[in-house]
């Protein structure tokens, strides 16, 4: 876990808010670390949890899921589905020994390039501290499930 470790982050963004937030960061020349590679979905609700597992299994050290702010979803409320899936993912991944911080959920509107850049910067630092994932090649000890992640029944409600 040397300082030279550069984590690779895959970011899932929605067409209407968070991808445009990344565009906005560009337009305002807001600098952030080059560790994140973005994929555009129409909506964060399109995020199939297997995309996240696939990214982590294929060598990503972390995954960012970014959507419109709650209440601002272009498709009315589908970002809430992303929210639920994110909670479930964090719970599931912990049982694989993957730290929940490696899968981050963020909201950014099309005007929030600065916020989007800050989310990536923070996440890169957080994942850098955790070190490389190397999953599933390297067996990992069970990570503790943080208390603030709700149990399944709460999430499904």
């Amino acid at each position: 876990m040397s300082d030279s470790f550069e984590p690779v982050i895959i970011g899932f963004t929605c067409n209407w808010c968070s991808y445009r937030a990344a565009d906005h960061a560009g337009m305002t020349r807001t600098q952030y670390p080059p560790n994140a590679r973005l994929i555009r979905l129409m909506c964060s609700g399109r995020l199939d949890p297997t995309f996240v597992l696939k990214a982590l299994a294929d060598g990503a050290d972390g995954v960012l899921i970014a959507g419109c702010h709650p209440g601002e979803c272009h498709y009315l409320e589908q970002n809430y589905k992303a929210l639920r899936r994110h909670r479930l993912l964090q719970r599931t991944l912990a049982q694989f020994g993957i730290e929940p911080e490696r899968v981050r959920l963020a909201w950014a509107s099309a005007a929030e390039g600065v916020k989007f850049a800050a989310e990536i910067s923070e996440m890169v630092e957080e994942v850098r501290k955790l070190g490389p994932l190397n999953w599933p090649a390297r067996p990992r000890p069970l990570a503790t499930v943080p208390a603030d992640i709700p149990v399944l029944s709460e999430v499904a409600a």
């Binding site: 690779v8 960061a25 973005l38 399109r46 990214a55 294929d58």
Partner: protein
């Protein structure tokens, strides 16, 4: 490897030095041509401006001559030029949905400065896009019919212009106005800069034309509650607030207003310096010419609330129409409208200068807002056009106008409100002309970029108005030292040109309060499915190339709702929005992105998990076949059901699992290779 049959062309754009200044374009081209050769890339090129005609022709030529079956353009954001490059493919006979863009400008060159890291990231994005495009399918755009009726929200000058343009072309317009009359803020002004023609003289004819136009259906004193649907086919629910007047019977004679014994301060149209009755006209030239009753101040309604029956009812008693036009029992009404396009022209609100306590607004009697002075200058206003102090009779001998109140100030609003310099110059001219007072303007910068605007500034200088460059620190009524008398207002300012502190005694201070977004702009934006910038103005689709459309197709913006602007710019944007709507109407139908979900019935187990997930109720269960079915006309393509289907039986065109898995693999290409070696 199935991709062997595909022939992919990769084009890397320099965008002048925008991309090439940070990303090593040649290295990206080399990477695509050599490393991605086994993935089907048959050629990779770079060009200064891929979006130029020559750049597009390059693609077209390669499709024809090299037999490309897939195209990847690594350039700017797809939100800018996806259509451009899809068009190029289509012209060369390739299905436009077999082209993809890799955003290496907004997502790489503009946000990263390290050449090596930026180039590496650009390569992985290109690799991801190549993998994705290999899984793309040829698609056909979805055609939707456009309902010719148009909704215009806001009856200020921008909305009026838009409504009239659409109606003149022969199409139905529903014009919704929250206030009781059309006109907006412009109706409050006296003269308009820089020509000094009277606002009412140029505005009221437009109001009257809109009011009487056979194609324009007016809904004043109304608000939009709900919007459903999509471009070409919106269903809008409008709430009509009760006026307590029978609109069909009332002749607008005004006897009710005359007989009403209740006089209240008019905070709305008269900006708090005039009065109105409890039943009142918004203003003299109101369109429609109907009064409105304010239940919060009406004696009858207040009486009814306290159960003290038999309130005044003078309006009803004196109303001469049969049947009586006064309807105390009138209730809110709801109207449903079907429209194809929506133009939002909801305007602005004045910055509340009370928020800057050191300027004394609301505390010191003779500190006025610019809007108050507008009403004062207006011949039809409360003072009949006389410039007087708060006592209603004394003419000021010296007037100070403070610029940039609440604008260009990081404590309040960082933006320039764009109109206040010219408005202040106009007010300076009017005050000097009408009262002969000495007028001082305190400014940070004078901003007069507009046709004949700077000439007007020169004219006002020549008229003898004083200009002091500096931000006012304080307005006080307390005399300091022997030379100062009481009863004056002292303006403390650093004169940054002379390099000294000044303390200027005046009788009246006018605060050039800036423009702010409507307090509920975020909510209104949500209703129409558009968002607001950090400052609260509606976001346009593109700041330069499309300041009229929004990210929601079929919803357009005009006037100050999109950002501060003057009357000519509002009129121009209103007309431009109308032109865009008319173009949509003329096309008859519109091509939408073919991003839709569909059920593969053989794989569907009929679990119905997807049924409840759709926000548009597009998914239903077919009892006979025991499978779920998606209505393509209702589906908007969010893909939530695709992600949720446990059997993988729902396919999302344009964003299929295969495309996204491939893109993940491509993006992680070099990491995957490393781990395989380990």
């Amino acid at each position: 490897m199935t991709s062997q049959q595909e022939r992919v062309g990769v084009y890397v754009c320099h965008c002048g030095s925008n991309i090439a200044g940070v990303v090593d374009v040649e290295s990206v081209v080399k990477f695509a041509a050599e490393e991605l050769k086994d993935r089907g890339v048959v050629l990779a090129r770079d060009y200064t401006f891929m979006c130029s005609v020559a750049g597009q022709e390059l693609i077209e030529q390669d499709i024809r001559e090299q037999g490309l079956t897939r195209v990847v353009v690594a350039a700017c954001s797809p939100h800018l030029h996806e259509k451009t490059f899809r068009g190029a493919c289509e012209r060369a006979g390739l299905n436009p949905y077999l082209a993809e863009m890799a955003s290496i400008r907004e997502h790489v060159a503009w946000v990263h400065s390290g050449h090596a890291a930026a180039t590496a990231k650009a390569k992985s994005i290109v690799s991801g896009t190549v993998e994705r495009v290999l899984k793309n399918e040829a698609l056909d755009a979805i055609k939707v019919p456009i309902d010719a009726a148009t909704l215009v929200v806001g009856g200020g000058i921008a909305g009026l212009q838009a409504a009239l343009e659409v109606a003149e072309a022969g199409y139905e317009v529903y014009l919704i106005e929250r206030e009781a009359s059309l006109g907006g803020h412009m109706a409050q002004f006296d003269k308009t800069f820089p020509t000094l023609d009277c606002a009412a003289c140029i505005l009221t004819p437009k109001m009257a034309s809109a009011g009487s136009h056979p194609k324009i259906h007016l809904f004043t004193w109304s608000e939009v509650e709900k919007v459903e649907g999509f471009v070409g086919n919106y269903t809008v629910s409008v709430k009509k607030k009760p006026r307590y007047i029978d609109e069909d019977v009332c002749t607008g004679c005004g006897i009710c207003v005359e007989k009403c014994p209740v006089l209240v301060v008019d905070d709305n149209f008269e900006a708090g310096i005039g009065y109105r009755k409890a039943i009142y006209w918004p203003f003299a030239q109101a369109v429609p010419n109907l009064p409105v009753l304010d239940p919060d101040t009406c004696t009858y309604f207040i009486g009814a609330k306290t159960k003290d029956k038999g309130g005044c009812k003078a309006c009803e008693i004196f109303c001469p129409t049969v049947p009586n036009s006064i309807l105390f029992g009138q209730k809110e009404e709801r109207v449903t409208l079907k429209v194809g396009n929506i133009i939002l022209a909801t305007g602005w609100e004045l910055f509340n200068a009370r928020r800057i306590p050191q300027y004394g607004y609301g505390r010191l009697a003779n500190v006025f807002s610019n809007l108050e002075l507008e009403r004062m200058c207006n011949a039809a206003g409360p003072t009949g056009g006389k410039i007087v102090l708060r006592d209603g009779q004394t003419a000021p001998k010296a007037v100070g106008i403070v610029h940039c109140v609440g604008s260009r100030d990081r404590n309040y609003n960082p933006y320039c409100s764009a109109i206040c310099c010219m408005q202040s110059l106009k007010l300076a001219h009017l005050v000097k002309e009408r009262s002969g007072a000495e007028v001082y303007n305190f400014y940070i910068d004078i901003r007069t970029p507009g046709k004949d605007y700077d000439e007007f500034y020169q004219r006002v200088i020549d008229e003898g108005v004083h200009f002091v460059r500096g931000k006012v620190a304080d307005v006080s009524d307390v005399p300091l030292g022997p030379g100062e008398e009481s009863g004056k207002l002292y303006i403390q300012v650093e004169d940054t040109l002379a390099g000294l502190q000044r303390r200027i005694p005046v009788d009246m201070v006018v605060l050039a309060s800036g423009l702010e977004p409507r307090h509920d702009s975020a909510e209104v934006g949500k209703t129409f499915g558009i968002s607001c910038s950090t400052n609260g103005w509606f976001i346009e689709k593109h700041a330069k190339l499309d300041p009229i459309a929004t990210m929601t197709d079929g919803v357009f913006v005009a006037g100050c709702a999109q950002g501060p602007k003057d009357i000519p710019a509002s009129v121009a944007q209103g007309a431009a929005a109308a032109a865009r709507v008319l173009s949509y109407i003329r096309q008859g139908e519109l091509a939408l992105e073919p991003v839709r979900a569909s059920v593969v019935e053989e794989q569907c187990s009929g679990c119905r998990l997807c049924n409840g997930l759709c926000p548009y109720n597009a998914i239903s269960f077919v009892e006979e076949r025991r499978v779920s079915e998606i209505n393509a006309a209702l589906c908007q393509g969010c893909g939530t059901c695709v992600a949720a289907c446990p059997a993988g039986a729902i396919q999302g065109s344009g964003y299929s699992n295969e495309q996204l898995f491939a893109q993940i693999e491509g993006l992680l290409r070099e990491v995957r290779h490393e781990t395989e070696v380990v």
